[in-house]
Subunit: 476 residues, 2 copies
């Protein structure tokens, strides 16, 4: 994308951190640390008249003193010091500034909001584009840019545009547990200059990004946003969380990023009309990211369910139906096949498959899942790998290993969308090495390696599937 | 409860396992193993003409051969062998039989349903009460009765009556991760004789049980059940999941436990009228069990929210409101207190508390939570302990430790209901020893030790709180 106006922000040859610090708890230290940690190959210029060296890098008293050119500035100075800093930027021909600096309009005070506006005017006059204020900026692992400690160095195909930085950081870590890695993440805070539409337009055109995630509290320009969204959603899936949906959430959004939240109903309709997908929270957004990244398009709603004994099946069927999926009866040809193999319970087995009644007939839940994967009557499959109630450890382990291997086989041999349910666990320090939960971790490791998406419960898997079906139906 | 007719089932002096086996994968082996594993102190009589010894215990060829009396029989023989076994029971004066034996009416075949009815008649004639068929029976850790491998030996105050055995077993393990242990668990399958109402009546009167959980697919006698429920719910909280809610779930329930599921709306209304609490699935039931066990009554819906930075607060407020809680503005006296301490952002801080804006003023999210706990305007508090985006490992660890210690302090010093949010994690084998997730486990360990209930996300905490509020309001 050599022609996109935003491209230079993601490829700086030199970065100045204004308000650099030698205190490891300060962002003026950690932004430099992150660049080193992620192997940023350009020049780093810490700026602060108080120091001569931070993290073994020479510190300059001001931007004016920096010998070479500067492509990108990260500002950690207080709000009141921003005008002088921008003056220096403008004199040095610096084109892009990330304002980590906060306490502007989000405080709710008039003088802070006025300062923010003066800064915008000053930046425009000086030809400077701003990210923020009140945000953590950019994570772009491929180029060594990051805003949180210990972020993954591995890049991936998912882009995230987030008005919150703290939650974005937590999400980046959580997402990696389910195999989701990022092309670019932008925490953009108050969106004073560059806003949600600019970043969305950029990621829509970005060849490194195949799925776009967004967390927005308010829109700077509603019309522009929905025009951009329509365009973006026509090229790749866009999943959006709206923060500040209710009375108190709206109040919180105002004091968080000075956003004015709008009516939720109008919002949801507009999102759907634009062809994007709405998510209620980061958990659901992760389910959707995992689904879009690892599943082929789901073309219909007829689901086959396998894994777990009777009760798991009953509640799975309920939750799939409640999410709008169609739990069809077991196809006649599958029954006939069982009958021809001499399985005496051929007329009893149904969908969901109750694996506990199959034992002893040479048919397991896993083999039934494989048969389902070859049957045209199913549009998608949901398989639960569940600890259940075994007679002993060895049996539980061998059953769970059979099940995960069965899922991998289905993934290898069939193009049917397969969603696997493996529970999250509230492990404490005492139980995390228990063989039971160790095995669950093994299951997740194998699924991750096979690129099979997993979900913590059937309800979440079913909801994600439903949203994908709607998405692909709208596009068809 | 010496007078309850069901009491003897839970206190057998001798148990016969008919259809005993030396194959560790068979239930005829594992039921004996569980009795040994849990230190059952009565006599154990394995019955099978094929063996002389199983697990170093003498095996008798038939019940007739057993020298002493038998209080309780666990039947692992095939369905067709049950009539002969019942004949022996009746001749020996045995009063209670648990039929693990399955493949009766749940197969959907007429001959199986007819055999089931003949067995019921025969049992009645012989003065024998039945648990099951098609179920795993009883877990009563205090007396050494159990039906699954590696069940906790520690007893607790929660009773569970479940039409599914497999899920009940998984739930017992999961519940222990959040501090929930059991008085008695009954897996009762097809409810041919003793049914949901009998067990509910028993647990309602059981002094060892303070909270009752139920999973039912169908009711044997609707009127009796709701009469019993009304009585039970007047003495202790009763939480119920209905399995088989939709078309396909109903079909699955029929082939699981031969239950006829009814209309969900009528069900929910009747449950509420009886003063009980409805749960959609086992995850929600666990949230509710944790809430009733560890929280004082919640008397109103005004919630104070702390922990996490801006975005966490915005989405927390949204989700609390969506669950029907009232996220009130920060009380004036709290603002005034901040002002009097010279905190310059006194007018900006709100509810939810954004901990990221407080740093540097000697006020943390934790100290604000403590202030909230003393303020009468809040009926309950929800605090999130969230990994977030730290500048470095050390800071994240010290912040999280501060937060958990703050929660413990609030619990010690105040009677305000406090719900803590600590995320579950989809850990794979590779990441489970990462310091980040290790610390989350430490947090859970400390909360468990302090009897503070925790929930995997704000939405689930808020929903549980709302249901408790409704429960206590209906009782008031």
């Amino acid at each position: 994308m050599p022609n996109h106006p935003m491209e230079e922000i993601f490829h700086p040859q030199s970065i100045a951190v204004v308000g650099a610090s030698d205190n490891p708890r300060a962002r003026g230290y950690s932004f430099i640390w992150h660049l080193l940690e992620h192997g940023f190959e350009g020049k780093i210029y810490p700026i602060n008249p108080k120091y001569s060296e931070v993290l073994c890098i020479k510190v300059y008293p001001s931007l004016r003193e920096v010998p070479g050119s500067v492509d990108y500035v990260i500002s950690c100075v207080p709000a009141s010091a921003v005008p002088n800093m921008l003056e220096d930027c403008s004199n040095k021909g610096i084109k892009a500034v990330h304002l980590f600096t906060a306490r502007f309009s989000e405080t709710g005070r008039q003088e802070d909001a006025e300062l923010e506006q003066r800064i915008l005017k000053q930046a425009k006059k000086g030809g400077i584009r701003l990210i923020g204020p009140n945000c953590l900026g950019i994570y772009y692992p491929k180029e060594g840019l990051a805003f949180g400690y210990d972020f993954p160095k591995k890049p991936g195909p998912v882009g995230l545009i987030s008005q919150t930085g703290g939650m974005a950081g937590g999400f980046i870590q959580l997402a990696s547990l389910r195999g989701i890695y990022f092309s670019k993440v932008i925490s953009y805070g108050n969106a004073l200059d560059y806003n949600e539409s600019d970043f969305l337009d950029y990621l829509a055109q970005d060849p490194e990004t195949t799925v776009i995630l967004m967390y927005v509290e308010g829109l700077k320009d509603g019309k522009k946003f929905f025009d951009t969204l329509l365009e973006a959603a026509s090229t790749k899936p866009v999943i959006i969380i709206k923060g500040g949906r209710g009375r108190s959430g709206t109040r919180a959004a105002a004091s968080h990023t000075a956003s004015l939240a709008g009516s939720m109903k109008i919002w949801e309709t507009a999102i759907a009309q634009a062809g994007a997908v709405s998510a209620a929270n980061f958990d659901e957004m992760l389910d959707l990211a995992v689904s879009f990244c690892f599943l082929p398009p789901i073309r219909g709603q007829r689901v086959g369910i396998a894994g777990g004994s009777g009760g798991v099946g009953v509640l799975s069927a309920d939750q799939c139906e409640e999410a709008g999926l169609d739990v069809i009866p077991l196809p006649t040809e599958m029954r006939e096949e069982l009958k021809s193999h001499g399985v005496p319970i051929w007329d009893w087995v149904g969908n969901p498959i109750d694996s506990s009644i199959l034992s002893g007939f040479g048919f397991s839940g896993t083999s039934m899942l494989q048969t389902m994967s070859k049957n045209q009557e199913f549009d998608l499959l949901i398989a639960s790998i569940y600890e259940g109630t075994s007679t002993r450890k060895k049996d539980m382990l061998s059953r769970m290993r059979d099940e995960v291997n069965g899922c991998i086989k289905v993934k290898e041999e069939s193009s049917k969308p397969l969603l696997v349910v493996v529970g999250e666990k509230n492990l404490s320090s005492e139980d995390h090495n228990h063989w039971r939960w160790k095995e669950i971790r093994e299951v997740r490791t194998k699924l991750l390696a096979a690129n099979i998406p997993f979900y913590p419960n059937v309800g979440r898997a079913a909801l994600a599937a439903r949203k994908l079906i709607d998405y692909y139906q709208r596009r068809a």
